[in-house]
Amino acid sequence: MIHVESLTKYYNDLCAVDQISFDISKGEIMGLLGPNGAGKTTTLQILTGFLRPTAGNIRVKDYSIDEDSLQIKNLLGYLPESAPLYHDMLVYDYLDYVANLRGIDSSNKISRIRHLSDLCGIREVMHKTINELSKGFKQRVGLAHAMMDDPEILVLDEPTSGLDPNQIIEIRDIIRQIGKEKTVILSTHILSEAEATCDRIVIINKGKIVANDSTQTLKQSAGGNNLINISLQNAELESVKQQLTSISGISDILQVSDDNGILNLKLTCMSSDDIRGDIYKKVRQTDWILLEMHQETQTLENIFRELTREN
């Protein structure tokens, strides 16, 4: 559906986006991840036709961003970061204006605005001016703006930034609901958000793509080694080491701390099999008291940090 081809953007001498290429297929929710200043917003701004690329091309369906940017704009709905709207307009007037610009004819306009105000939960603020609204409501008005003519592709730049946890969950629900039928591209630097909403993740750092894969594969590829944390009472480090190394799969045992006779250990295991049962059986044979045991899978966070680390 969307085909991005060696996209490059320079701001004077600063290279914001460097030879980025990726594809997005129909109905996918794609997350664009990266630290601050990685080039996420620039990429989205080029995609939406706001900025012109220095080099490279984007094709949406059969349209090229160079020649048919008006057609592409018709297919896209865009919510810029922090939803910059005309702050002296009433919410209803604003949505009406957007509907007009988007070419929705007047017979469908009212019903469309009504539908969107229900979907985004902005019914009760329709008669307020935009600068009276809280951040969360502004974001929702922005979302309604982006979805006005039911676009096939929705581009959201940090849709949940600055919202409180309840609002974040609500916005995410809306996004997931939309994502069932539409292609959604969202940028974020909150990893749990990408993990929770996206099918596929593209991580960029300093204008370059460092990872591009589905959320699942990305997590698996980060390494088969799981970490298991256990806390034992009434146990000696040496004997524990001796006992546990006999379990196949454990490659390393690390003492995290030892407070008041409680031994906290971090076990690294190579295999992807679950060995917690084996550990429990081992512990039961001794007179150690098992206080705690939990498995830590490589989270997206570790992957992200590894890929975008400064070096």
Binding site: Q45, F50, L70, K73, N74, S82, Y86, M89, N100, G103
Partner: protein
């Protein structure tokens, strides 16, 4: 073009939502009214010559105040991004905003129709120059709007937009008053460049194609420049 109309409508209505419109209009009426009527009874002539002779200089700081926010505010708030990612062209945006400013100037001139009506009531008013004067005022307003728009498109700071626009308009008005500083061979050229010269011709009731062409070319240059600035911005 439909888009240009909706942008025009929004910009025009926004003027009247904020207090700026009312401040600018009252300021304009106060200044023109004051300067016109303080000398009106001294001259003891039923003409609006005095009112129209002041108009270029007053317009050169009122019109940039009207146009200063058109682009600068959008750049500053960031709403320019939301606007441009909707299916609009640069031409729609420029035309919509330009027409909104011209329409606002017309709205600002409407209350001044009270002057010719009053004068017509007091004495024998020749309506030809009045009609010419108002046509000229709208043309002058359009030309200055285009300049103000260009100034506004170059900065995100409204004050800078205002001062730049005002400086250019001021120069255009005053240039034919400064002619004796200039070398002889260039006089005709600089006189032709002066907005005041052309405006006074029209306000005498003489509608000459050269004067109309002058205002239209200034408008065109301003709008084309704005279009170029917007294109280059991204």
């Amino acid at each position: 073009m439909r888009q240009a109309f909706f942008i025009f409508k929004r910009e025009f209505l926004t003027y009247f939502v904020s207090p700026i419109a009312y401040i600018v209009i009252s300021f304009f009426l106060l200044v023109t009214g004051w300067f016109f009527f303080t000398t009106f009874f001294l001259y003891n002539q039923a003409s609006l010559r005095n009112f129209f002779s002041l108009l270029p200089i007053i317009f050169s700081f009122v019109v940039p105040a009207i146009t200063m926010r058109l682009f600068s505010e959008e750049f500053n708030v960031g709403s320019y991004e939301t606007l441009l990612t909707m299916p609009v062209t640069f031409l729609d945006v420029v035309l919509g905003k330009f027409l909104a400013s011209v329409a606002f100037i017309v709205a600002m001139l409407i209350p001044t129709l009270a002057y010719p009506l009053t004068v017509g009531f007091l004495g024998q008013l020749d309506w030809g120059p009045v009609a010419g004067g108002y046509t000229g005022a709208i043309l002058l307003g359009a030309a200055f709007s285009a300049i103000g728009l260009l100034a506004s498109s170059m900065t995100r700071n409204q004050i800078i937009a205002f001062i730049t626009g005002m400086a250019i308009c001021f120069c255009l008005v005053l240039i034919d008053k400064m002619l004796f500083f200039l070398p002889r061979f260039s006089l005709v050229f600089f006189q032709y460049l002066g907005a005041d010269h052309h405006f006074q011709n029209i306000s005498k009731g003489i509608i000459d194609s050269r004067d109309i062409l002058y205002f239209l070319s200034i408008s065109f240059i301003g709008l084309y420049g704005t279009h170029l600035v917007l294109q280059e911005k991204n």
